[in-house]
Symmetry: C2
Subunit: 513 residues, 2 copies
């Protein structure tokens, strides 16, 4: 087997964090903005987010939600109403205190002391309290229920240690908020949206996830129950990729979300909230990327196919472009994975080989190069991003179908890649979940021994209070957290690994982002 010269400098196996940063930079997805903790999402990264938005928005609307928009500013008094909620967010909040600038003594601008707000405004870290206000106005009777809203917005949490996509002070997300007449319906809706997230992650992003309930210490501030989908990154760490919360009547009580019930009495609503953010893009990178850069599942690739004529700044170029345009138009008229094929004919200046590697790093699923000889032979040179290298020769594994065959087969290849990339990730995850560990010492050995340890599933008795605190401390000593209690896990059949009491459920342990 020949040596392969990969398209990135960093290797996943050597330095996963450096590799992650290099993918983001080499694929031109995002960069530091110079504003503390905030990133710039560049066109290729934002194009991926637009694809994700479109697909998830369709799923959210299909489950009966309407989009709406609420103010970015939340008055302090409003935010304070739910005690656990404010406690959970107060430490990381951007606070607006003035509404005008004036020249200071040194000539530079300063906040105008005359324009100080009577009540400071916080930049929303999440919108339960402000949307709760609106719900309390909109809901009068049981006929107004359920009320199912969603918002696409930017939110701000002043994170001390940031990492692009995974943890930034400002990020983009959708936040769903619903109000229901009773507990059973609200709890069911919490799980309906968790299932929407699972399907979105697995079917659209090819991201295998485990859906389950978070232990009580990992709940959203103010929630009664928090559920999550957890994905395994290639370094074995877990990424919480989406959460769905049953909020009980906590926020309804705080905001006065009441309704006249069928019997004519007054009841509090039961509410839910759930969100998915640009963090998920980090999950796509760390699940599908390789030492050549990003690999995109076709459904979320802004361009699924890039055609690169090997232009030489000569009059013959036009014939080559025309030859490529026939293929482009033929592909663009077809459908795959339920949508129009997205194909780009890239005729920008620059060497085709250099541009090829740019598109490899960006993760375009299929790259097609066309040179003069290809044109003479009526073929194209086709490279699949998921089978980049000929391991024998160490060279890119080009196939050379006829132009017509390429046009005919590519939609099917894209559909196949969408599921193949999922299976690859799922197989890796399953190979890296260890089940049946019954002794905590084994867990400790497991996580201290290997660099990419994966996850361990253990049985526990779901302790609370001081007993739970002790569990958390023991895990923290190894930088471990409980991810979730998977839905549909095998029945318990032994003792709690922490307390020795009879186990009541299974829980996943992992290092996490």
């Amino acid at each position: 087997m020949a040596q392969i010269r990969h398209a990135l400098n960093a290797r996943r196996a050597d330095d996963f964090a450096a590799w992650y940063q290099e993918v983001i930079s080499a694929a031109e997805m995002a960069e530091e903005s110079g504003v503390r903790g905030c990133m710039v999402i560049r066109p290729w990264g934002y194009g991926i987010w637009e694809r994700m938005q479109r697909l998830l928005d369709d799923r959210i609307k299909a489950t009966g939600h309407d989009n709406a928009y609420f103010p970015i500013f939340i008055p302090l008094s409003n935010f304070e109403r739910e005690a656990e909620h404010v406690e959970g967010f107060a430490k990381e909040m951007a606070v607006v205190t003035h509404h005008r600038l004036i020249a200071g003594k040194d000539g530079g601008l300063i906040p105008d002391p005359e324009a100080k707000l009577e009540e400071p405004l916080v930049v929303r870290p999440t919108s339960e309290t402000i949307i709760g206000d609106a719900m309390s106005r909109w809901i009068q009777s049981w006929r107004d229920l359920p009320l199912k809203l969603n918002q696409w917005a930017n939110v701000v949490r002043w994170e001390m240690r940031t990492r692009m996509f995974l943890r930034t002070s400002e990020f983009l997300w959708q936040e769903g908020h619903t109000a229901h007449a009773d507990e059973a319906e609200a709890r069911e809706h919490t799980l309906t949206m968790l299932e929407v997230y699972r399907a979105f992650a697995e079917e659209d992003l090819s991201l295998p996830v485990i859906a389950g309930e978070k232990p009580e210490n990992e709940r959203f501030p103010g929630a009664v129950e928090t559920w999550s989908i957890e994905a395994m990154m290639q370094d074995g760490k877990a990424l919480q990729a989406g959460t769905s919360h049953y909020l009980g009547t906590n926020f309804a009580h705080a905001s006065g979300i009441k309704y006249q019930n069928r019997e004519g009495g007054e009841s509090l609503c039961h509410t839910t909230s759930w969100g998915v953010s640009t963090r998920m893009i980090g999950g796509v990178i760390m699940t599908h990327g390789d030492d050549d850069g990003l690999r995109l599942p076709p459904r979320i690739a802004p361009q699924q196919i890039v055609i690169l004529p090997m232009l030489r700044d000569k009059p013959e170029d036009q014939a080559l472009i025309d030859y490529c345009e026939v293929l482009r138009a033929d592909l663009a008229a077809q459908h795959t994975l339920g949508e129009r094929v997205r194909v780009l004919l890239d005729t920008r200046p620059g060497k085709a080989a250099a541009k090829r590697w740019d598109w490899v790093r960006k993760g375009a699923p299929i790259i097609i190069e066309v040179g003069g000889r290809d044109m003479e032979n009526g073929v194209v040179s086709l490279l699949r991003r998921d089978r980049l290298w000929d391991e024998e020769t160490g060279k890119p594994d080009f196939q050379t179908p006829t132009r017509e065959t390429a046009a005919q087969n590519i939609p099917g290849i894209l559909a196949e890649m969408q599921s193949a990339i999922f299976s690859e990730a799922e197989d890796r995850r399953e190979a890296n979940i260890t089940r049946g560990v019954t002794d905590f010492a084994e867990v400790e050995t497991f996580f201290s021994g290997t660099k990419y340890p994966g996850w361990v599933e253990v049985q526990w008795s779901k302790p609370t209070g001081a007993e739970l605190e002790e569990v958390i401390e023991r895990l923290k000593a190894h930088k471990l957290t409980m991810r979730n209690v998977p839905i549909g896990a095998a029945a318990v059949d032994g003792a709690c690994i922490f307390t020795g009491k009879p186990a009541t459920e299974r829980v996943l342990l992992a290092k996490a982002y």
Copy 2:
């Protein structure tokens, strides 16, 4: 002619401002949020914005722009770089000064004095300076040009007097930003985007607009030229519905947006910016609304057709729903105006007649009611929002085509309504522009005499400096402003109405929002 009982309390002719507020409230488009100057955009209003976003985004992408996302926070020092720019916005800026809250003496939360930012951050009122920063990193050579970006975002301008959609402290918009190698290309692009806005306004929103250049006193802070599209509201006032700016090298100089030119030297880029906001929704209301509420051009109607079975909470209801479902499915499978027909079968609880008026007020283009007798006769009762009343009887002007005829004809009716509603607005505007006024006293009489005066087109000599100041003061005395110098206006042929000097161009005068 019979008396018509309109669906709103306020009448346009009596109190246009009250009517505007009532449309917004009755159509459930938006409401005050309780946060100073910020509105909540309710699902129907946001659905209209989503339609506008989709249509304008397609046009922006078709002209070669990529979407990206930049931080909401701009460091003060960054913002200060362009003097006119900061001067223009400093008075209306939300300023973030702290990043944490702690409990104050009275137990309530206060900004933590220990968490004061070293440099305050302003919440973006527009993004020239922060995007300029990114451009300076991304552009090295002439090969990187033009760079054509767009951002969909929220922005904040601390307005003292707010009005829903038209002027709110936070609003949603798109802001395009481009960098070019030379002045000619940048100037041309400024006009290309103005034309995109014109086509969007006229073809998608049925909003007739006049495109032209703003006089110097109305320029965007930091711009060399500002162009606008201006629409006439039903009260005769003007609404600036979109602007496109040629920024020269001002922002390139401030942010260091330079490139290596073809000769190997270093040149400053010429930049443009252009934006359209949720304000345009206010323009749609004030152009197309009537005394029964909103009227929506089909292209931006979240639902184009609403089918209302007259349910009576009885077992027969199901047959009626089934009958309606056939029509719904038939319509949903068809296309009009280049897209899938959007049709809703509304089976929510409530009386059909009450729901009819809700949809009338919301401006759904076509409402179809189906009762038991309609079903027996194989017909439906169809109401066009643009021909609501039978003026003879004073009753809603229902047509009763067969169900099959309705399914067949509705896509065509929608297309016809899209242009009919445009023509109606255009005819009204043309009837209310007065041309050929040569004496300023006539202008004064004109605007003091009538309640809904429309616009006046005059000739002027484009004065500057103190002479311009005087013109502005004379206009201000009558609450008038210069809207723009229309592209393609007739040649000048006389004296300036202000200075008596030979006129150089024509300019529109109007009261404005």
